[in-house]
Symmetry: C2
Subunit: 781 residues, 2 copies
Amino acid sequence: MFQFLNRVLTEAPQSRVHASSFAHRCALRQAKRIVVKLGSAVVTRGDECGLALGRLASIVEQVAMLQNHGREMMIVTSGAVAFGKQRLRHEILLSQSVRQALQSGHNQPKDMSVPALEARACAAAGQSGLMALYEAMFSQYSTCTAQVLVTNLDFHDDEKRQNLHSTLQELLRMNIVPIINTNDAVVPPPEHNSDLHGVISIKDNDSLAARLAVEMKADLLIALSDVEGLYNNPPGTDDAKLIDIFYPGDQHSITFGTKSRVGLGGMEAKVCFKLSNMLKTSKPQFSSEWVKAALWALQGGTSVVIANGTNPKVTGHVITDIVEGKKLGTFFSETKPAGPSVEEQTEMARSSGRILASLQAEKRSEIICRLADLLTEKTEEILAANKLDLEVASSSGRLPSAMLKRLSLSVAKINSLSIGLRQIATSAQNSAGRVLRRTRVAHNLELEQITVPIGVVLVIFEARPDCLPQVSALAIASGNALLLKGGKEAANTNHVLLQLTQEALSMHGLREAVQMVSTREEVEGLCRLDKMIDLIIPRGSFQLVQDIKRAAKGIPVLGHSEGVCHVYVDADASADKVIGIVRDSKCEYPAACNAMETLLIHRDILRTPLFDQIIDMLRTERVRIHAGPRFASYLTFSPSEAKSLRTEYNDLECCVEVVDSMQEAVEHIHKYGSSHTDVIITENAKTAEQFLQQLDSACVFWNASSRFADGYRFGLGAEVGISTARIHARGPVGIEGLLTTKWVLRGDGHTVADFSEQGTQTYLHESLPLEQKEILQRDSS
Amino acid sequence: MFQFLNRVLTEAPQSRVHASSFAHRCALRQAKRIVVKLGSAVVTRGDECGLALGRLASIVEQVAMLQNHGREMMIVTSGAVAFGKQRLRHEILLSQSVRQALQSGHNQPKDMSVPALEARACAAAGQSGLMALYEAMFSQYSTCTAQVLVTNLDFHDDEKRQNLHSTLQELLRMNIVPIINTNDAVVPPPEHNSDLHGVISIKDNDSLAARLAVEMKADLLIALSDVEGLYNNPPGTDDAKLIDIFYPGDQHSITFGTKSRVGLGGMEAKVCFKLSNMLKTSKPQFSSEWVKAALWALQGGTSVVIANGTNPKVTGHVITDIVEGKKLGTFFSETKPAGPSVEEQTEMARSSGRILASLQAEKRSEIICRLADLLTEKTEEILAANKLDLEVASSSGRLPSAMLKRLSLSVAKINSLSIGLRQIATSAQNSAGRVLRRTRVAHNLELEQITVPIGVVLVIFEARPDCLPQVSALAIASGNALLLKGGKEAANTNHVLLQLTQEALSMHGLREAVQMVSTREEVEGLCRLDKMIDLIIPRGSFQLVQDIKRAAKGIPVLGHSEGVCHVYVDADASADKVIGIVRDSKCEYPAACNAMETLLIHRDILRTPLFDQIIDMLRTERVRIHAGPRFASYLTFSPSEAKSLRTEYNDLECCVEVVDSMQEAVEHIHKYGSSHTDVIITENAKTAEQFLQQLDSACVFWNASSRFADGYRFGLGAEVGISTARIHARGPVGIEGLLTTKWVLRGDGHTVADFSEQGTQTYLHESLPLEQKEILQRDSS
């Protein structure tokens, strides 16, 4: 038996982290021969019996593209009945009205209702039109199609089966897409009490597609219908979750696979019995049909993905997405996925995180100190893993040298990392559980607002492996559960560092509070877990932050959007300070988000030696200057004009523009800036204070380099990141970025009705001191 | 001349608030005869010369649907060239290879490149196929089509023009969709140096569509191409913005309209000259072509919308959206839009808001006090407007009585509103500009973190007009600019209240800081202004909050998602407190988000009289009980089983479930709750503290009703809303929900390089007291 998935998975290198459900999906990229089954719900348009043309066209587009890229595609389609019904309805209406006109001669209102149409007649009438449509559509992609009509009975006759096989084989060899449909004209009539819709369902070609896929040794059968896939519980109930990978062997009492096969009939019956609970509320007949078909195909060696082909958001790319290994629908696999899925990891992290949050602050500090110890104890092990990563990176030659530098660890780096962790451990005493506000609402009714962890935080970081223990320590200190996704270039180092972190956590039985997801798991997929992840923190390039902001749907992202930082040189600026601050802001580390991108110069400076000094300094530092339109107009020979005044160069380049006044500088920054960090250089305190006051950027500086916008330099201790958002945390964010608050109200049977006009109570709303309570709380915990 | 838009706008009742660009759009809903022009970019697939089938199919679907709903639809299409090329290429390849085989007989590698194809030949070859495709597609919607081939020259011959007119008129009368294309076979050949693509562009049927639309007196011409519309500046430059409504009369030196018409040729030339700057960077020839065509049609009395038909996100509904009045592309209108657009309102609000934020706190308080005065001074005026609203509401009979109650104002209500505003005025002294943290970073380098307003806040509220002055006062107190969108049921009252608010603001020249957008402006459209609005606060029903959360893309929304609140009755609960708190939590105001939805009862209670007391009380209060599965299993005759344990009933209904312990209650709440407000009733302090500690809801209460979760009851003063988000503000949110922070760093020429290993400076990071600075700041401001 051809076991496509087993083969691919066996050949694949073992992933370091548990994510083999992801590995399963990735295996699909290697599927060569693919059967796409279009259920009637995909082909037809809801209740109206026409075809869903747009849907069909985009499916044809995907199939044609995959075919043109060397895959062998087959389509099993429904829809002839619908197409035929549409056509016959016209004919019947026409003949009816003619008949009526002949018979009655009266001008009576005509009965324009269409009689029930026999499904098989509809199918026969629709077949030619449907094929013509497919052909016209595929011809747009220079793809040839062939019509194949079969019945399930054809598979029972060995000769017919072999003939069919060789026909299809020959078509595939000639690069032709076979379009297969049931030969409805020769099958038994539909059940008596079924309406036309029921007929489509019953005649749905699940089993045909399965048989065909197995017969043709297809690697993959993609079955598209109007359900999302298989659920672990009846869809719509509290606990219903879409199953990502369905491994039939998970069902007890069923042995399944190559070694101990059971009869297909029996297997079907048993599995379907087990599944019956899962399918309780979805259309029963339809569902069990497709599950049966999927299991059949699976046992025959064809992997199956069942997905929704009617969701307008994904229809345009559902097939290509599945073939690219994206998590869509339910994947029926003959191989058991090892390790937890990312959803399971998130759930484990949350429940461990809740225990972590309820630990005393001292115990959380203990864990961090233990991690700090482990880092120094296991330095050699860490460096060995890091060496491996560095070797891979330099041999591939794909990483730029700056990246290599960030990837590389040293004894000194690990030591300072360890020292940093101990500082975080100290600050942990004063993060979660802090009382921010105490109010006596009424007699014996006291309200407290206290800091609490946010919940489950996903941190996505690139290259720098030292990020892992740092972020872990911040999360532990604040009582948050953590999902980590590191760059694959640091996979070995991250693996060791994660083990140490989990070892430290295990001293309080909480190793699952910090989890690492596969480096290959798609960010997009993680961003979809909006009910499970409370905050995403991307730490890395601007591109990374942008990508994540775009992908995150419903999950807040803490990160800076852009860093178009300005330095404004006022008329009253001191020359020394200007040269020092401009050089530092632009050249100290031009790739940083807090580096200067635009230099605004007061018009009066233009005529002074200071102007030449600035330009000379920038030239010496090899900074490429782009002139703003105003600046360009002052010069006879200006440098290249800035394409946009809103550019983040991230390099030794900057824009220079001229303004008339501090006020104009503020307006310029409001218009073109990104509200990150902006600087004024002046000796005039009044001008400076106005600038600081009027500008609504996250960081506004007077006579200081923009590069100070940084958590460490601000004295926040460890930095969670820099935020340009206007809510939650703004600017450099310390550990408080990982905290939220909760309100605790302690009463004595108080009700709101007591405070009504007829009630006995009145609101006091007295502010209470915070300190006293902190002691009380420590006692009670 | 038929002036469709003028007619509609003249008939429409004047909107109270300025939003006539919106009224323009709404007028489109009444367009009956519509020409849809499909540019070649829409019909063909990028560089490959096939048709964009999916796109075409969904356009056909929209046109057919509009036709079936009684509109008269015409399509002007491109694409025959592409279709024909696809077809001829096959033929040529085939004949080439046959020829080569005959000529050479060798097995040499064949030159399979296709010679340049003559566009007109392609068009002729493609026409039949294209029409067949349209026909097949439209037949899916039981819609008949007719092929009409014309040339621009046909319009110059009066007889031909009249023949064409009556043909099309007859087709429309018979409910047939005419599909019109240029008769390429008889037009002059394309320019010599143009490639096939260029040919398509030059032959693009903009002018044909415009002539046809005017000839047929169409109300609307929808021109779909691959550009978004007309920009005020070259697209891609810093200031480029898509023009929503383009009124050619805005161009100086051009008078345009029915009264003083100028020759079309001259008008075209002048407008195009004026427009040339706008179009600098987009494809010049194409752009000026479509602008010319649009202006032509406009002058002929047909409104024009130019939009992108190739954007996959909207293609499926671009035509229906435009016809429904949604803001898509550029609308060429012969009527000048009065009043600012919502984008302009937002910009005005932001710039006034910036001045408001820089006012001294005392001055912001002054404005609020003035508003409080105005409310009492103008009470009669307010009540008169309110009476109008109430009359409309009760006569329509559509508002439920609870809604009517919220809508209605009284002298008492206005007085207490006024008192509330004075309280907000007092608190304004201590909101924006508060110093939260002061750090001496280094010698002479001092850092401050201060509270600042968020920026532009959009508040969407229903029914309750008293919300308007309240929210305005909160925004003014915190220095935020405000966009308000009230319910249309309170339009008159809101109008008066807005005028008073703006009058108060005008004492410091800031009336534009609070703006009201049209009641009819779509929330969806507002939610798209993600670069202009910083925070959205929906105040109203759960449905409203949900809708806005779904629509808001990239703008944070402050609001509660769901309120599935629990009351847990512990084994050690006091019976009196249980009855009081459960009654209050469920019955005091069941529609509130902080009302109890699930009652969790410790198993031990089941056997006690307290259990019967609880059930009796709920029965007396007519609360319908739904049994959780565990509870149901204990009863012989149980009430209806709860469909889901995660239900927010929002009514006199609740779920009752049994748990074994406090621990299990916490787990239940974590699993099914919405982290809003959860209560424990117990006399055991240890159990209570554990519950309060372990539960991660926004509000956790001990022996107090869940209904206390409210900004006023918490003593926060005015309430911005309730948040179930985990970042920014959580639980009942006071004015601090409208504040963010900024970092102010004051130095003396400090650079980061000074602090490097080679540098002269070291970080001090000393915490400084806050009070001293507050005095200093007051001096400097």
